[in-house]
Symmetry: C2
Subunit: 218 residues, 2 copies
């Protein structure tokens, strides 16, 4: 018999399912919510309940969105010839803080057979469609009732694969290259090298090798 | 303008209010809930919504409970002359794994003026009442409609203060000692010393001093 009432153990159990939260952290969070004046279980519960309600994914880039077309795809000032492919929506947020002004495509994961993530589980078909849909229809034929403004009609010239530099990310990049190499002018990958502020003494050998291989003229 | 829909930023915001969860962790948790097949925002939201519904605190020991009297206070086989005073309900769960067979009292916090926690914010009055209520009424007069089985009628002989060995815990223990020293036979404190499996070389000097001061005959 558990000493704690079931509604408490239920919350602890649900918190424990989250990444990086073990049973002890889950207990601490639960009792914090019971006592805290700042955080309340009702507010968190309500926001979680509403999380998926009316949540849409952009029909073009698969970014989380309130409309069927996200604000980036709808922005006519952006460069519509380049698509930057990322693993998840937060990566889009990260790149939006840089000076990148092209379009995006969110895969919602990476190829990882061990986790049951194959090409069908990712938004890969949608990416391939974006890069090939306009072929033969001719650029500039702005026809049809549904607006397809973002990189349709074979206008995509470059696909930049920005998956993480790990095993799954590299495999996914390689797969995307195979699928798209005949459809767009260039499939590129983010540069590998030393991050800003890094200390060469402590850099790993793979990063150093990539940094030498990718050296640039000053 | 935020790139993320408001229902997502709301969940991130609520997660960020929890202890040990910064903005980055909150983002990660939120997107994990959106994608994961194991953890779902609905299940966590529902459990949080129900967290406080029908949650009661034992009228005697203030432990979280489903009834007005918790299973420990209702257990007639337990030693009703001893109360172990703890900071929070999880401490009760911890002591229940030991061979302790007395009663408990949960303070729901410790004295900490900097956090606005004074004696009124804790369940201290209830503890003092438990130790003094029976005075003059005579032990064994099991009268009245409400059962008051656990350590009432002046039957408490010892109060063991099991607050954490930190500044707030020591201050709380000292306060409880002042309040109860004339009401019970003994107010005691958990032993300080080396934890099992510790390495003397790495023990701090306060712990070592306490371990020497509290040495026992073999």
């Amino acid at each position: 018999m558990s000493l704690l009432p079931p509604q408490i153990t239920k919350v602890i159990e649900e918190f424990s399912k989250l990444p990086g939260i073990g049973p002890k952290s889950a207990e601490r969070l639960t009792f914090h919510l019971l006592r805290s004046s700042k955080a309340s279980p009702e507010a968190l519960g309500k926001s979680l309940h509403e999380l998926k309600i009316e949540l849409k994914y952009c029909l073009n880039c698969q970014m989380v969105s309130l409309q069927e077309e996200c604000s980036i795809c709808a922005d006519s000032t952006r460069d519509r010839t380049t698509i930057l492919v990322v693993e998840n929506p937060l990566d889009v947020v990260a790149f939006e803080k840089t000076s990148y002004k092209g379009l995006y495509h969110v895969l919602h994961g990476v190829l990882s057979p061990i986790d049951g993530m194959g090409p069908e589980q990712l938004k890969l078909k949608e990416l391939i469609d974006r890069c090939s849909s306009g072929e033969g229809s001719g650029a500039g034929t702005d026809s049809g009732s549904l607006r397809l403004p973002s990189g349709q009609a074979g206008s995509i010239k470059e696909v930049i694969v920005a998956t993480n530099p790990d095993v799954e990310g590299e495999a996914t990049a390689s797969y995307i290259h195979d699928q798209l190499k005949d459809k767009v002018e260039a499939v590129t990958r983010l540069a590998h090298g030393l991050p800003m502020g890094a200390d060469i003494e402590f850099a790993d050998q793979v990063t150093l090798r990539e940094a030498v291989a990718g050296r640039r003229a000053l």
